[in-house]
Assembly symmetry: C2
Homo-oligomer: 581 residues x 2
């Protein structure tokens, strides 16, 4: 008897309609897609008590043309708009609804929910595309004088309401013009670029340096966040990003040699010494300032010799999360160099991962189960090494030895290759889930080794206390003193309010259990209300003193950034809107 | 015919007299000595046109008992002294001349010159030995209320007038009581200690961790400045020190996970996450603050597995400084890990080094000269690797390969072992030279690779433009983006004024030629007058905003620190005093 072809939801495979809401909130390339596979689809159905019927009709696709249907702050006068237009030229100004919504929207769940319903969050009054730092100097000086709020849009990938123009005013789009490489310096092994450059542009130039710059070696930027293709150099630094290869190359801020800023208190470029003992470093002070001190116009970054041919891939299955963590700690403290990619999944993420990769139920599954690696206990590790050939091989060998010591069983390099292929693609699945009323979101935190399990347990316990909610967790950035925890939760929510309340509680649990408020997403205006509780009043006052110095009129990314002027959460005015159904 | 025993100066081999000026300015242990060898002695004679006769009588040995023979600021009232005594107890207060001079004096050339003549620089009114952070909290609060200057003395090894109490007031001696290890955390691989702990105490505890703390591994702090034995954890962080193994372990500030401060604006402890994206890091902002923001009471530092048995030693001779630099750059950019110690000497330092090590004129000398490594052109590299066995071996092999590629010839591990033996001892020679009227001092800078030769050349040119002046230069801390330049200059000066004018000119040349104002000595009150020129007004204003926040009454290390309130250089009142003869 021929097996009946199983039902497949009609996952959307067409680009969003031009000028539609969907064209704004859809992740990544308009024609980029990654759909849940059969294993994941079955899991969704069973988790949420759904059937094929529930996956027959899409909801709130956001296909309508953008129109702003609510009163938004309109704080700019015609004269002010004219003055700004005189600075950058008419072609570099937008006042139309579409541009205003597009450049006022990031990628948080609540923003997407609003747009799916034809609503919007707070909007800027004017979109400005500065051509160079002189434009920015004039704009910031004028905005300071006129007390006009100034927001910045780089790649638009913020998941913390970092770019949300809650006070209206101007949004500067950095990626339109300010995306040029201004210096490649092989001697110092640095690249200097304007802050609006996108990841792939930077990386391709470095990979092709022998051709483009007549360099001796090809290079890499070493920073590959999941948002790599749709995020900017400026965003990496200002929100303190980490890439998927951070365990070897370091976090974005570790690579920053020098930065150039325009602030209401003046413009400056920090010095490019690899190390100097001349007091506290302004170069460090600006990192993570999230647009609240001034505009980052350019940065000089460390680069690294690019030798992907030396990569050694590995994956292991461990009997428990504790074993996987212990192996990672031994690796991170072993004094033999670090692998470049290193990721461990907790039992639930491992369970779903094996399902997603079609391993569940196979002979391999039976073998590893038989060998004592039990479902919902076992944990997957994947990774690869980098660097000079013998170094990379040495790290690989040390990793293998340590993993075996911690009862890890090798699964070959296959799962890593599979992960590499899709490493930037997972966010594309969000639209598919949302189209059928399922919410997927993430929160993440930095932890020390000795608090890792407590944070994991307590946060997970809270997430799982909600019925019919999946919680996948991994660690993907390693330091000798600790790591990060990245929580992915999937559920069906009745309303944005219900979802937000859940999200706020998770952040609360992360902080109370001993995690940092964020490991690499920044705090934006979403997490910032907890900043003072987290840092303490004394440290918050230090940041406020800096804010006051740089931006006495509070025009730079005002409305809650870093906790400087806490607001009602943006979007609250629509709190009863449903999230995608 | 029996060769006549050559003349040897009567280098002083006895400890200073108790309570004498010499007991204050002498470097290191009272009974610690390292005397110039015959080769160096002959060089001094020929350089300075001196003969054995000039080395028969010592000058200004500073043997007299300390007595303060000049009016110093006496800004504390009896009531204030009584209040401070009530806080810490009578036994933790000193008002006697000896204590006041001892704890008001660092190790700059001009301070030593003054003390050799029975003079002193600025003095504190009261020496206080706080017992704990509560003492410090009370003292700082009281000093803030009463506007009493507060200085800090750690190990007293500052060579930039960092600790000089130019405004009088209180000096807190951190090393008397606040020298305890408060937590050893093997899981997180950190140690927490009070800031007054001395290097050897910290290191010995870590080396002995398996016995002391029942740890699985022995550990090392990884930070070994030349002043290691006589400097404190607090000084390392606040003056941004680098150790002799920094190329592998990082600079002191790279190891700081968390710090606890008492400031006039409140007390706080920064968080201990290895990485977090919660805005600008107060932990970074405090590094290098040189006591001008508040008092560092405790720090949590990264530690490292201690495996000295895995060390591989190497030394090479290169035909030129350019070759040696190129080899180091290739090593630093090679993506195979870094050696722990890596040092290259310029031609003059190599020339004197070979002389000092008795290699000049030997068969080895003839061989290397014959092979084309010519005196005053050739350059010495020494170093060793660290870390896990196969990693350390791999780095060693890569270094050898690169050095050979850059025309380096191996000189075996012997010179490194010789250097290791005396690595903390060189400063002891200063007293010997000073006793016979010769001044030796150092200045250092951070440089990018592409400005290294310019800075080296221009600074050296200036130093050598002075007749009869030796100039030895090395690079000893390596980064993929650059290194440091450490200048040692030896000359005979007519007066402190002549010496100071020369020193000021050197600092000027360092800065103008493109070096940083300091790589690892900090700026103290000596170099700080150039801070604004160096950083620019905008960045200086950032530091001033922080200063104003932490210390609105300017009581924390006032009088020029970091360029906040530039003063006449301390000690200027005695500008006509001669330097040691």
């Amino acid at each position: 008897m021929k097996k009946k072809q199983p039902f497949q939801p009609d996952w959307r495979k067409t680009p969003p309609e031009p000028l539609s809401f969907r064209s704004i909130f859809k992740w990544g390339a308009p024609d980029g897609f990654k759909h849940p596979n059969h294993g994941l689809y079955e899991l969704l159905k069973s988790t949420f008590s759904m059937n094929d019927g529930h996956f027959s009709t899409k909801q709130n696709e956001g296909n309508s043309t953008v129109a702003v249907n609510k009163k938004t702050p309109a704080i700019l006068s015609d004269e002010q708009i004219q003055t700004l237009e005189n600075i950058v030229g008419k072609t570099n100004i937008n006042t139309d609804d579409y541009a205003r919504v597009k450049y006022s929207t990031g990628k948080t769940m609540e923003e997407i929910a609003l747009l799916r319903e034809g609503g919007t969050g707070p909007l800027c009054d004017l979109v400005v595309h500065p051509r160079n730092k002189d434009d920015i100097r004039q704009i910031v000086a004028y905005a300071h004088e006129q007390r006009i709020p100034v927001y910045t849009f780089g790649g638009g990938s913020s998941v913390t309401l970092g770019l949300t123009p809650v006070k209206g005013g101007i949004t500067l789009v950095m990626s339109t013009h300010m995306n040029k490489i201004t210096e490649f310096n092989e001697t110092n092994q640095t690249i200097t670029a304007e802050s609006g450059i996108m990841g792939p542009e930077l990386e391709q130039a470095l990979n092709r340096a022998p051709v483009l710059y007549n360099s001796k070696h090809p290079y890499t930027c070493g920073h590959f966040p999941q948002s790599f293709e749709f995020s900017t150099l400026g965003g990496w630094i200002l929100a303190k990003g980490s890439g998927q290869q951070s365990s070897y190359y370091g976090d974005a801020c570790d690579m920053v040699i020098s930065q150039e800023y325009v602030t209401p208190a003046g413009s400056f470029k920090t010095m490019d010494y690899p190390s100097t003992a001349t007091g506290p470093m302004v170069n460090d002070i600006m990192k993570g300032s999230e647009g609240s001190f001034g505009i980052l116009v350019s940065a000089t970054m460390k680069i690294f010799r690019h030798m992907p041919q030396n990569r050694h891939r590995f994956s292991f299955i461990f009997p428990s999360f504790a074993d996987a963590v212990n192996a990672c700690r031994d690796i991170s403290q072993g004094e033999f160099g670090m692998p470049s990619v290193l990721r461990i999944s907790d039992p639930e993420e491992t369970w779903i991962g094996l399902k997603q990769h079609g391993i569940e139920g196979t002979v391999l599954d039976k073998i590893i189960t038989y060998k004592g690696y039990k479902p919902m206990e076992r944990c997957l590790m994947i990774g690869h090494t980098e660097g000079e050939a013998s170094f990379s091989r040495g790290v690989y060998r040390s990793v293998k030895k340590i993993c075996r010591h911690h009862r890890g069983m090798t699964l070959t390099g296959y799962p890593v290759r599979k992960w590499e292929k899709g490493k930037f693609a997972d966010p594309y699945m969000r639209e598919d889930l949302n189209d059928f009323g399922i919410t997927i979101d993430t929160l993440e935190t930095g932890v020390t080794w000795d608090r890792l399990h407590k944070v994991h347990l307590e946060v997970r316990e809270f997430i799982k206390s909600r019925p019919q909610t999946l919680c996948l967790t991994h660690c993907s950035h390693f330091y000798s003193q600790g790591t990060n925890l990245y929580f992915i939760f999937i559920g069906k929510f009745q309303s944005t309010a219900e979802y937000k309340a859940f999200q706020v509680e998770i952040i609360d649990r992360i902080e109370r259990s001993g995690g940092s408020l964020s490991h690499h997403h920044g705090v934006g205006k979403m997490i910032s209300p907890l900043m003072e509780r987290h840092l303490g009043k004394e440290q918050m006052e230090v940041l406020k003193a800096l804010k006051k110095h740089f931006d006495p009129e509070n025009i730079m990314n005002p409305g809650g950034t870093l906790g400087f002027d806490p607001q009602e959460p943006p979007g609250i005015q629509q709190e009863n809107a449903k999230i995608s159904g």
